[in-house]
Amino acid sequence: MEEMRYEAPDSLDAAVAMLSDAGEAGRVLAGGTDLLVQLRAGMVHPGLVVDIKNIPEVRAISEEGGGFRVGAAVTGAELGEHAGMCKAWPGVVEATELIGSTQIQGRATMGGNLCNGSPAADSVPALIAAGAVASVIGPSGQRDVPVEDIIIGPGKTSLEKGEFVVSFKFPDRPAHSGDAYLRFIPRTEMDIAVVGAGVNITLDDDGVCQAARVGLGAVAATPLLVADAADALIGSTLDDAALEKLAAAASAACKPIDDKRGTIEFRTKVAGVLARRAALIALDRAKEGR
């Protein structure tokens, strides 16, 4: 078997060059909470592991154009300590903080959670609902990719050879905006989502929903952006009728599997329930004038 090498470049250009040279044999290391488990289990045999954490751009949180840019290798613990992100995007922060234990939070990153490609990744429905855009760099340069276009199947991403996610851009936050993420697990902590739902809304001054995005996790081969569910909210005050339509649209979008964590019927039903509950939390946050 090929011997594994470890590199920790301190610039994006150097990382891109190493990953391009390595081709299929290269793997990106961010927090390592998935990669090291896969290495240990013999699921992956990379010839080169490129640790991106010494690259300033992937470790920074900065304000940009009225919104925030969050490095792909910022840890969950660091995100949760960032007052600006907690205020602007509490749903994204709460989703990311649901990933694993305190120990996992000390290492796990949104970039890794996304690029691991799990349909049940907790941060991803919230990132999709937020309208976050991934800045991807690779041999052909930099490109912006909406988060919902990154995962294309379980464990599979649309990233080309040598490409990796540098950061996430969160859009400007208008007044009266709120987001929320809820997941169902049979325990209270330390589990994989059976269903996850992220909702992001913006109200006008009269409390009418002007914009909405809904993301669902663990109910299909990839996390989903559900336009019909968002459309059910837009133009409403999130009254019961709108919430019923939201729940129906969320359930209708599900194409889940049966497994030990939940049946198709259960996941389909719960997706609607969680979307509705998350929408009500997002509504409260929007009314608080965030």
């Binding site: 090291l36 488990v37 592991v49 613990a77 120990q103 996992i104 290492r107 330390m190």
Partner: protein
């Protein structure tokens, strides 16, 4: 096979070591440096028996590579007592009989110290959530939680 030369700080002392690229921080601590207080339970980040601090952040040593640790500050269970004087958490774990086989204990102690360093007055719920990544298969969790809360109360009172 080429080894990686790493300069780091462990429990306040400068330490240099050589490691293979696939060795975890836990492998390095236990097999290269003979700091065997950090235990290997699951080797997949689920049990917390290998909990250590890296740059003041609680992590599982089984989920970090030894090669990543250049310039980092690492703290392990071996640095917790002050010579022969136990840390208050260690003393309270004894008083409350908060251990049985002891495999999980170093991880619980390191994780609990990291909680009290950040929050000297945690609620029971905060303590249980903070320690949710540390598994114990013997005594259950009540005595451990009580020992941590009792330590916090005693340290706040300055005794």
């Amino acid at each position: 096979m080429s080894k990686y030369h790493v300069s780091t700080t462990i429990n306040g002392d400068p330490v240099e070591y050589l490691c293979e690229p696939e060795q975890t921080l836990l492998d390095v601590l236990r097999d290269e440096l003979y700091l065997t207080g950090s235990k290997e339970g699951c080797a997949s980040g689920d049990c917390g028996a290998c909990s250590v601090l890296v740059d003041d952040r609680l992590v599982c040593a089984c989920l970090a590579l030894g090669a990543e640790m250049g310039g980092k500050k690492i703290e392990t269970i071996e640095g917790m007592a002050d010579g022969d004087e136990l840390h208050p958490l260690q003393q309270k774990f004894l008083e409350h009989a908060a251990l049985q086989c002891g495999i999980c204990t170093p991880g619980f102690l390191v994780a609990a110290k990291s909680l009290l360093d950040r929050n000297p007055d945690p609620t029971e719920e905060e303590t249980r959530y903070w320690l949710a990544g540390n598994l114990c298969r013997c005594t259950g969790y009540d005595k451990i939680i009580r020992a941590v809360l009792d330590t916090a109360a005693e340290m706040r009172s300055g005794k």
